[in-house]
Symmetry: C2
Amino acid sequence: MSHRFFVEGDTLAPEQCRQIATVLRLAPGAVVTLVRDGLELDYRLDRVGRDEVSGTVVARRPAAGEPRVALTLALPLLRGDRCEEVIEAVTQLGVSRLAPYTSARSVVRTLSAEKRERWRRIAREAAETARRGRAPTIDEARDWSALLAALPGPLVVAWEEEHERALEATLEVLAERPAGSAAAAVAPRPLATLALVVGPEGGLGEDEVALARERGGLTVSLGRRVLRAETAAIAAVARVVAALDRG
Amino acid sequence: MSHRFFVEGDTLAPEQCRQIATVLRLAPGAVVTLVRDGLELDYRLDRVGRDEVSGTVVARRPAAGEPRVALTLALPLLRGDRCEEVIEAVTQLGVSRLAPYTSARSVVRTLSAEKRERWRRIAREAAETARRGRAPTIDEARDWSALLAALPGPLVVAWEEEHERALEATLEVLAERPAGSAAAAVAPRPLATLALVVGPEGGLGEDEVALARERGGLTVSLGRRVLRAETAAIAAVARVVAALDRG
């Protein structure tokens, strides 16, 4: 499999040029893959220098590794490195956007610019390793109310006090009830976007859940066992992508 | 919710007695929950001493947190603490048994008695936190051939070279084809046991997969993205338990 590089535009960044010239030692004529915005470009190297590599795009195709659904994960700020583990795993699994947030019971309440930049790097590297077509974007941290205003619909909130509505069944219902449609029965179609919220350690408060419901959010159960926030995030993303990416 | 203690038999261990007497400071008449073998026992304290606590079982019921399927996860030995993260997460998600193994491409090749004992403690604590009815058992490490001989059927192997057969579709097929049944069409019934193998870093070899297939194993795809072994294990367990534990 050819080497992959996430790029902006059609040009390689200086550190990518150095990697090609001095680490991988690729010669003119070799073909690498440039990846941008969900597209894969086969790029035949014409000139290879330490500081500049030029070449020609010889083929382009949609990246095969992108899920059909654009999934936004709203992730509570967690102590220590625990968000980083989650970001790496859910990027491999296919999230499109990460929306960090604080809630009433959050212990960690700020996301520094340095930490967010580190998260971006972790997400980009995980996306490259997973052979995805794009890296997820990472929002600034928001409080609960600003988070709800910023999320695309439909909105699903994993909540440990919800015991009736299961995740997969809810996704089926949402696929049969497109937003804005008044038709009683329309053919199910795959969801194009979805926002998924997992709660912080200590759980979401009743008033926070009430506000999410006012905004159209549906609470769902992830099962009868009590999950740590990290496990809940990884498990829920795995299940959503599997359910919406079939066929 | 009452305090929970995993026990063997109906008696509390010395450190559990000390916790009740000196940390929780519970008095006679208080009710705690003893958990053993998938059962929850409500236990009314009669006598509370630093070294011995006695009481009476006043109710017993199946533990609500156990999944229907007894799922065995075959987990490759991974470098550093990475197996521990997986054990914690998959215990919360509901595995019954962990079967560590080494394969041809494994870097780590032994599991010391101390490390296995630490894994057992991590699994027990994760099971208590998750409010499960039992902690998973942890086998000794085996090589690939011994692993296949020790796993209960049916056997599902997550393999990155499998591009046709998806995990959930395979579980549906297995539910319609009970082992030992010659009937052409029988009503689907939930699987009672399942063994799930995830591969090591570097993947399973062709000959290893061939041997698994000879033993009746079915290879499945977890999706079009390349997952690290830890992410694959957590995601696959989440999806299996969700698919087999519905309703």
